[in-house]
């Protein structure tokens, strides 16, 4: 039995799901910290907003990886002309894991870094960008690397079958 398509879709799902969970937790952490500071210093909304949304980028990276798989599987255009095959399906699943797992952990830790930056911005607003945002971006880099690995694997390492001919074309 050919589980190729199932495995590939599982990979796409995991990429979006894991990175999305990470982002939700990360934003949750940073958001609660920001809300605490804003309850006393509402004028700090601007600099804190950047730090709250930063952990959300991983969710987009996961979505991008999943979307790339869906494009390659021609989900929106009638599917593939032949079965994907179990081995190819596993390859797609494996290719999706870097963005999913890197996104999950980096978003949570980025949320914590952002929360620390938010607390610092409460006392020293001039350091909000220099330390808070810059340190958070350093964590971001590893999510970007995960996304790049996923994209390179999907684009260059997998030999995708031809797309199905559209009826009437």
């Amino acid at each position: 039995m050919d589980y190729g398509m199932t495995l590939a879709l599982l990979g796409a799902g995991l990429a979006a799901l894991l990175a999305g969970i990470g982002s939700a937790i990360g934003i949750g952490i940073a958001g609660r910290s920001a809300a605490g500071v804003l309850s006393e210093k509402p004028e700090r909304y601007g600099p804190l907003f950047v730090m709250v949304v930063l952990p959300g980028t991983q969710g987009f990276y996961g979505f991008l990886g999943a979307f790339m798989v869906m494009l390659k599987l021609n989900i929106f255009g009638g599917g593939l002309s032949e079965g994907l095959g179990t081995v190819l399906g596993l390859s797609v699943l494996a290719a999706c894991l870097p963005v999913g797992i890197a996104g999950l952990f980096s978003a949570i830790h980025q949320g914590k870094v952002c929360a620390a930056g938010i607390l610092m911005a409460a006392k020293r607003p001039e350091m909000a960008f220099k330390a808070g945002v810059v340190y958070a971006v350093m964590v971001e880099m590893y999510a970007i690397l995960g996304l790049l690995v996923t994209l390179f694997l999907l684009l260059f390492a997998i030999k995708w079958p031809a797309v199905a001919a559209v009826a009437g074309a």
Binding site: I29, R32, A115, K123
Partner: protein, 343 residues
Amino acid sequence: MNALGQQAEIDFSRYPAIGGDDWEYAFETAQVRAIETVMLPRPVFVDMANAADFEQAADHLRSGEYAAGAGASISELERVLLACRSEVRQQFAGWIHNDAIVTLFKSRDDFANLRLAIRRAVTKKTIGADYSSDGNFPGEQFAEVFDSERYEMLPDYMADAAERAIVLYYNDKDIRAIDYAIDAAQAEFNLATAEKLGSEFLLGLFRIQADLANIRTMLRLTITQAHQRNVFLPGGYVERDQLVRGLDAGGDGLAALFFATPYFEMVQAGAAYAASEKSFLKIEQQCDEYLNGYLRTTIAITAGPQPIIAYLLAKENEIRTVRLVLTAKKNHLNPKLILDRIS
């Protein structure tokens, strides 16, 4: 073995560990960090201490939360300070998710109220109802408890402390025995609760507080050449035997006994000042400084109860310092003495 049964080891160079983050407290910690920024900085206290008189010293508080209006008397300012302290404690109770921690910190007022009630009871004075309302046990019920000797009405930790204090007092009719018994019962209750909560920070805090109280007691007994030996609190990092050796060593050899502890500089400075000035101002100041230093280490915690507890204690210390400076100015004390005392 529990925190009291086992001698705590000094496995740190300056301050004990404070535990890790608890992300349930992200909002509350951030709120505390924002509020901390409006606490009075040291220069305000220095200016107050150097002010020409009480009125000028009080003027420095006019724009802040301790403002009591122009020409306010010290009793009016005291009311403002007490109101601020109650407000901070209510805020603290709202921030902390664990009721046991709130009860623990409220118990400080219970022990203080109990001390006063027992003193009144054994000296046959009216028990009254003028007690702090920030505790867990309502002060107006003390009269009923002591008049009918129904100590079971008190929470367990207070009933135990009351029994020990009364027994100890009637042993030799020494009023100070009440303080020793209640202080010891409070230290034991604090440590037992901190251990039950599994809080590394609270264990460290209460052990430090026990050590600082013991060091102050040791220095006082040494300088006044008193002979009590069973007055040290249990549960600190410094062994009781070492404190007794300190009493025997006297002023000059005192600091050397603490060379291997984080309290060395404090004891050295406090003992030298006490010997030269015949005053305990320096040891009091150094103890406050050390405790504040421990509380400041909570800056490393992004979310957790530690910064919130540290804020409560720092705020209470600020209120105490304002009261201290204002009282000193009211009594025309030398600014140098005030500056020597404030941390």
